[in-house]
């Protein structure tokens, strides 16, 4: 279990990295996504590492939608770019893709896209609501114990304990033309008085307070010239850094002006949560001022302040990790000119540059604990800081807080229960396939309309409807399929380059392969069985013996390696069993594959 978890998480880290890279548009675009009036149903055969039963996805245009089980008992709706999905699944996970292209009208394609968007939005908001409630409860618990501060998102981007910075003074000067000091001070007083009146109520939890504290901090950061917090900054690793060009300086100067203007607009806005956006906007402008001063890029770090190690990279060979650094660095170098364009910097793209720089710094740091799985393609820097305020301490206020805390806990429990009810993973009733089936029906409101749109029906309540390959067979046989397509796995593509007998024999053996490097997470096995059929049982027996041998060696080394080899041997033995019955699951995986390399399908 532990090994399976580690394998899954490592894949997630890889996915996070490759997600960044491909989103940056570095990878060669592969024109395999479906045409405008098509929907592609994708079947991904199993492999070790959380996907032994196979996987499914929907592809529309360049976008892929699929449902993942991340090991916490929930299913997650995931949206991806096709080139990234293909790279991860056919490359790093070494699994072929089978696609059934189904003809639909443009209107029906839009309905499916709307349905998938709705599912994603609903889940994102439900998860965000749960996080907000958790934060409410944590904050109220701290307050009930006598605390007088709460953690405020993005407040940690600036440092109130350091003296005012020159960068801040320059920006303040720019802002002065729009908002004078008197206006700013009266706004601070107004929000201070609102904070003093804020009651920690059940209906809003501490959100109202949080919003107001964020607003106050953003105003004070400007008024007092607080500098950027050191911990909020990330600089590009020297090997991939370069001084700012004149064009970049011009682009950054214009972008800083734009950010100051946006800050002024947010200041005038009545948007209740504008404080966070104001802090982020101001911090970005500060980072640009520092960049211009140092003549090299200083960016905000989107990695969460409290790193929660989810992936241990100890088992990833140093060579692979070095390549991750190289690859991320190369991507950053190529992305930079398109982001820092004199035509204008787009915030969403600038955010990608921040994310890339952050990822690069983490890989280059050599840390084995990497929180990159926390990073999304677009992740706003949101470093938190504990912000204090004056809280009423009379008996009545304490008693009210206790009561509200209980209500907040109950509300959190209710939200958790609703999430479990709606998104709990169930092998038979709610998995990556059943939810795809449901979404393709729900998009049309009724089954009759779905049948009409897709040419047939595949439902999750049919016998074995939860099994990926059964689902795919039904799609092919029932829906309006205009063509099917198979994209081979990375290893298969590599083998096709050298078809000599010697190479084929060598590449059949995992320990001898030039393409594949044996990894503990794949288990100990001798022969690949994914590209043979009639010989598979024989190979399976050989793998069984090989796994047994390693299991024995693992038992002997148990006192020294904490069971690492034992688990690998057991995995090797266990996944050999299906092969004896002609079923292949294990295919081997890769830590690194060149993005857009010659083996890209």
């Amino acid at each position: 279990m532990a090994q399976r978890r580690r394998g899954t998480l490592t894949s997630r880290t890889l996915r996070a990295l490759l997600g960044l890279s491909l989103f940056a548009g570095f990878a060669a675009g592969v024109a395999r996504s479906v045409a405008a009036a098509e929907v592609g149903f994708v079947y991904v055969p199993g492999n070790l590492g959380g996907g032994s039963g196979g996987h499914g996805a929907l592809v529309i245009d360049e976008a892929v939608f699929h449902i993942q089980n991340r090991g916490d008992g929930l299913v997650y709706f995931v949206r991806d770019r096709w080139d990234h999905f293909e790279h991860v699944y056919t490359g790093l996970k070494n699994r072929p893709l089978h696609i059934a292209h189904v003809h639909v009208s443009n209107a029906d394609r839009e309905r499916i896209l709307d349905q998938l968007s709705q599912m994603w939005v609903a889940q994102q908001l439900a998860l965000a609501e749960r996080e907000d409630l958790r934060r409410d409860v944590e904050a109220m618990e701290a307050l009930s114990l006598g605390g007088n501060s709460i953690e405020v998102e993005t407040a940690g981007l600036v440092d109130p304990h350091e003296p005012g910075a020159a960068a801040s003074a320059r920006l303040r000067g720019q802002l002065g033309a729009r908002i004078d000091s008197g206006h700013l001070q009266s706004a601070i007083q107004e929000v201070e008085s609102q904070i003093a009146r804020t009651s920690i109520a059940y209906e809003t939890g501490v959100r109202e307070l949080h919003d107001r504290l964020a607003l106050r901090e953003s105003l004070r950061a400007v008024e007092h010239g607080w500098p950027l917090a050191d911990a909020a900054k990330v600089r590009i690793v020297p090997a991939y850094d370069a001084p700012l060009t004149l064009a970049e300086r011009r682009a950054l100067t214009a972008y800083a002006d734009q950010l100051v203007r946006e800050w002024a607009e947010l200041f005038a806005s009545r948007r209740s949560d504008r404080g966070r956006a104001m802090l982020l906007t101001w911090a970005r402008a500060l980072a640009i001022q520092e960049s211009l001063h140092e003549n090299r890029l200083v960016l905000l770090d989107p990695l969460p302040a409290a790193i929660r190690p989810r992936s241990r990279l100890a088992e990833v060979p140093p060579e692979s990790r070095r390549r991750w650094v190289d690859q991320t660095g190369e991507i950053l170098l190529r992305t930079r000119p398109s982001v820092l364009s004199t035509r204008g910097i787009k915030t969403s793209r600038y955010n990608q540059l921040e994310t890339l720089a952050s990822a690069l710094a983490w890989f280059a740091s050599g840390s084995e604990d990497v929180a990159l799985s926390d990073l999304e393609r677009q992740q706003s820097p949101a470093r938190t800081r504990s912000v204090s305020f004056r809280m009423p301490r009379d008996r009545r206020a304490r008693s009210r807080l206790e009561m509200e805390l209980e209500r907040a806990r109950a509300r959190l429990a209710k939200a958790e229960s609703a999430i479990q009810e709606k998104y709990a993973y169930d092998l038979f009733a709610r998995n990556c396939i059943t939810e795809l089936e449901r979404s393709s029906i729900d998009a049309f409101g009724t089954r009759a309309r779905a049948r009409n749109a897709l040419g047939g029906e595949v439902t999750p309540d049919e016998l074995f409807g939860f099994i990926p390959f059964v689902f795919f067979d039904r799609v092919v046989s029932r829906l309006r399929v205009i063509r099917t397509q198979e994209i081979p796995s990375y290893r298969t593509r590599r083998l096709s380059r050298d078809r000599t007998l010697g190479a084929r024999i060598r590449e059949s053996f995992a320990p001898l392969s030039h393409v594949y490097v044996p990894r503990r997470r794949d288990g100990d096995f001798l022969l690949f069985t994914d590209d043979v059929f009639w010989r598979r049982p024989l190979y399976g027996v050989a793998n069984l013996a090989w796994g047994s041998l390693h299991l024995g060696k693992g038992a002997l080394s148990l006192p020294w390696d904490r069971g690492v080899r034992l688990r690998s041997g057991f995995s090797g033995l266990f996944w050999s069993l299906p092969e004896i019955f002609f079923v292949n699951i294990r295919k081997g995986t890769f830590d690194w594959i060149e993005v857009g390399g010659s083996d890209t399908p």
Binding site: D61, E62, A63, R79, L113, D114, S117, Q118, W120, V121, A122, Q124, L125, A128, T204, R207, E208, D211, Y255, Q258, R261, E262, E265, L266, A268, S269, R270, R271, S272, D273, R274, R276, A277, L280, T281, S338, V339, S341, R343, G344, I345, K346, T347, S348, R349, N351, Q352, E376, Q378, S380
Partner: protein, 158 residues
């Protein structure tokens, strides 16, 4: 229930300081048909107009990214209309979606108002309700036009 939510929202609106270019001023127009959620959305549109004077944020964005943001927002408006949340809830939701698309200042994003209009149409907001909303936005004509354009884009295609 709907009426009480609407009245509650109006009370909230009434307490807001005057002098800002706020759509919410117009939401003081009573409407039997407007739901609390509709009111909350209307309130949030206020700030959008403040930013419309800004030039677009520059190049680099693909139409795919913008389409994806708009679609998510449309769907969110539909979900929100069914949930009967407050203006604060609505704004928080928009912020979440915008952040997922790398957008911090969503009020400055022209696609926001248009997508909200589309979402209102998808949620079944009537021409009468939209007309009231439009009338209430006399000081925010650009926003009103974008919302109405978005609404028409969906409503008239039906």
């Amino acid at each position: 229930m709907r009426r009480s939510l609407f009245v509650g929202a109006l009370c909230l609106v009434a307490t807001l300081p005057s002098g800002c270019m706020l759509l919410v001023d117009a939401l003081a127009v009573p409407s039997e048909s407007a739901s609390g959620s509709f009111t909350a959305i209307g309130g949030s549109l206020a700030g959008i107009s403040l930013s419309l004077g800004s030039p677009p944020s520059g190049g680099g964005s693909t139409s795919d990214e913008k389409q994806s943001y708009s679609r998510d927002l449309r769907q969110y408006v539909g979900l929100f209309m069914a949930s009967k949340g407050t203006r604060r809830d609505f704004e928080r939701g928009v912020s979440r979606i915008a952040e997922a698309h790398g957008i911090a200042h969503w009020e400055a994003e022209p696609a926001t108002a248009y997508a909200i209009g589309q979402g209102l149409a998808q949620a079944g907001v009537s021409a009468q309700q939209m007309s009231e909303l439009g009338e209430s936005l006399t000081s925010n004509e650009a926003t009103a036009q974008q919302v109405l354009d978005g609404w028409r884009n969906v409503a008239e295609a039906r």
